[in-house]
Amino acid sequence: MTQLFDALLAVGIVGVAVAALFANDRFAAVGAFMVMGFLVALSWVRLGAPDVALAEAAIGAGLTGALLLRSARRLRVEPKMCQSRWSVAASGLISIGFAGLLYAAITSVPTVPAYPPLVAERLGESGVSNPVTAVLLNFRAWDTLLEIAVLFVALVLVIVVPVSRVRPAPLGEMVVPFAKVVVPLSVLISGHLLWQGADAPGGAFQAGAVLAGGGLALVLAGAMRLKKPLQGGILRATALSGLAVFGAAAVATAALTGHLLGYPDGQAKIWILGIEAVLTLAIAATLVLLFHGSVRRVPK
């Protein structure tokens, strides 16, 4: 029975992916892409990976979808270039060959991951009991720090290459009551996700994405006016605080223990929760700014 469900889900994923890739209508394509994200998230729940499922639903499908919808209206549709049938056919053939090769490569070797015994052995020292959080914020915290740096650079880039602002007006009337429900809810859910991330699925990224969803509702409702230098400035400072605090924490740990990102004995949980709390706010602020475009500060 579950196998039938998995089969349907896998077929569904591929089906909506085809729609997302080949639909002529842009909004249909983006819509299909979002549906694909949610179906994939469902499949990852089935695969016992709820942390990534949450992230995919919130960020991969939700926020990316919102970004794509924003741009779908604004981007000029490029005139269709007359591509020769031969090149399309060649690309198709190569892709089929590539798919076969990839499938054979993945299934031909029985993977023996080196990590699970190591994670199991050291989870006790990591300060948290959710293994994914332990990997992200302790065992391989350097990856995560650099990932925050990616968000930082993207933010700088969007500030340097500003997009035109999101105009809240057309939806205003309808969105305000909606935002009244969504915003407090997003704060609650996000806090819950952050707190339970130590022991159960969740963590800074999922919490930040949910909070960003609430923030976007505020922006669309016109309640958060990023044109105002003060609100924009606070949001920007919050976004920058992520890399600043994480980097400072790395320096502090190096000074305290001699190991970069090696938390002092017995205090790992406090450090991790502290870093995650800052990251949640910073990620949320960064994502809102990435969606909203830059806050142009007028130099005096």
Binding site: L102, P113, R140, V160, L243, L260, V298
Partner: protein
């Protein structure tokens, strides 16, 4: 390993500082660049005296944790980056970035330059020190995004278009790389660099290596995947072009070299592919440079050719446990970084004095050749590989090794490439450096700028490196294989 920690973290912290306080951005940038230079010198000295170093981040040993590995090759790359970084910072201090287009525009661009450039520096340092493939993927994403930001800084339509193509190609390259990492994980169950030798044993592992190299080829602008590069490198501001051409593509080339060293003898097919594509790129890039009408485009195509040369050197190097030929590739990367950065900075100055960068317009009678033209000429000598430059030592090592093997085809290709590079560079040098009767009696001399010092400093470093090449070679010799 304190130096390594400083190298990996400081640029990012300074980048945040520069983004948070745009008015102080240049100060953040200069301080961080200078400390970075100091740290890289200290690290190289430590490695020279005490051998390779390794630090498990968070005290979690690999493969679960991520190790920073500082060996001779990493030290050479880090010092190369630090030297070019210093010159670029000097140039950016003195010259601003773009043609002034009104105060607000200009200040926004300048404020954008420093965070992006510092993030580029941090990503390069983190990449050279990293001992883990997935970690390297993340550094590539930072590098790609910040380099695109640098390309787009001028805000012109051409540069924005080039930036979009750059980012789209770069992202496709990183995703192919990531797919390779996923397959590597499927094949051997771990993704640290120490797992690379085991990849050679299975078909899945070899496909993983193939995908990783395909991703790197896009990122390094290796022929025929260089399509995004000339536009991006030639439409950016000079300081940004110098960073893109001298350093950013080196990230991918460095990793290609590192993986071929780790993988040892088992990847013969891949090596041959690299050598063939490298040779093709060398010839194609030279041909396009010969035909280029604009100076910046000529220099950008010369980068395509030089990347081809370096890839060729990586490809023909024998098994590193028995032969030291791989060191030629490292030395060529080093000399190309210095010379090409000098060249882009010099071109920026020349274009500024002339008001254009058409090669046909370089013959002029009312302006004497200045420092920038001189710096360009020295850099050209190093790129062609004439003695006593570092480029010469690199090519010498390469040809010496090839003669021992009797690989005459490769030698002929190398010499052909060298002749072509002499041809396209002399198109510029012959026009720039004409004095005597070609210059009118009352011709003015261009003024000195800090940017000249940066270009000339880099060019002379490239020259001096040939005389002092014992130092990088000692570092490289100590690299444990």
């Amino acid at each position: 390993m304190t130096e390594a920690y400083v190298l990996a973290l400081l640029p990012f912290l300074a980048a945040v500082g520069a983004a948070a306080t745009p008015r102080m951005a240049a100060i953040w940038g200069l301080c961080a660049t200078l400390i970075n230079l100091g740290a890289s010198i200290l690290l190289a000295a430590r490695i020279l005296s005490g051998g390779d170093m390794r630090a498990d981040l968070g005290d979690w040993p690999a493969p679960l944790g991520i190790s920073l590995v500082a060996d001779g090759l990493a030290a050479v790359m880090l010092s190369m980056t630090a030297i070019v970084a210093t010159a670029v910072a000097l140039q950016a201090m003195s010259w601003g970035l773009v043609q002034p287009r009104g105060g607000q525009q200009r200040s926004r661009l300048q404020a954008g330059f420093w965070p992006l450039w510092l993030a580029t520096l941090g990503a390069l340092n983190a990449l050279f020190l990293s001992g883990d493939l997935f970690n390297i993927y993340v550094t590539f994403e930072i590098l790609g995004l910040s380099a695109v930001g640098l390309t787009a800084l001028t805000g012109s339509r051409n540069s924005l278009r080039a930036a979009f193509d750059y980012l789209a190609a770069g992202l496709a390259g990183s995703l192919v790389f990531l797919l390779g990492v996923a397959l590597a994980y499927a094949a051997v169950g771990r993704v640290d660099l120490a797992a690379v030798p085991a990849l050679v044993d299975t078909a899945t592992g070899r496909l993983a290596l193939g995908l990783i190299f395909a991703g790197l080829a896009v990122k390094a602008a290796l022929f025929p995947l260089h399509f995004w590069m000339p536009a991006a490198h030639s439409s950016a501001a000079p300081a940004a072009s110098a960073v893109l051409s001298a350093l950013v593509v080196k990230g991918a080339l460095y990793l290609a070299l590192r993986i071929t060293i780790e993988a040892g003898a088992g990847i013969e097919v891949l090596r041959i592919a690299l050598a063939v594509l490298g040779a093709a790129g060398m010839l194609w890039g030279s041909w396009m440079a010969l035909r280029a009408e604009r100076l910046k485009l000529l220099v950008a195509y010369s980068t395509v050719a030089q990347i081809g040369l370096i890839t060729l050197a990586i490809g023909v190097a024998d098994d590193p446990s028995t032969s030291a030929m791989w060191q030629a590739a490292a030395l060529l990367m080093l000399s190309h970084a210095l010379a090409k950065a000098a060249m882009f900075l010099a071109v920026g100055r020349i274009a500024e004095e002339l008001g254009h960068d058409r090669i046909s317009g370089l013959n002029r009678t009312d302006l004497r050749p200045g420092v920038a033209e001189f710096a360009f000429a020295i850099a050209a000598v190093s790129l062609i590989g004439l003695p006593p430059t570092a480029g010469f030592i690199g090519k010498w090592l390469l040809i010496d090794g090839l003669i021992d093997r009797g690989a005459w085809v490769w030698i002929a290709l190398l010499l052909g490439g060298t002749a072509l590079s002499a041809a396209y560079l002399s198109r510029v040098v012959s026009r720039c450096l004409r004095g005597g009767p070609h210059v009118a009696p009352g011709a003015r001399r261009p003024e000195w700028r800090t940017g000249d010092v940066a270009a000339l400093g880099l060019a002379t470093t490239a020259l001096a490196l040939g005389l002092g090449s014992a130092l990088p070679l000692t570092l490289l010799n100590g690299t444990a294989l």
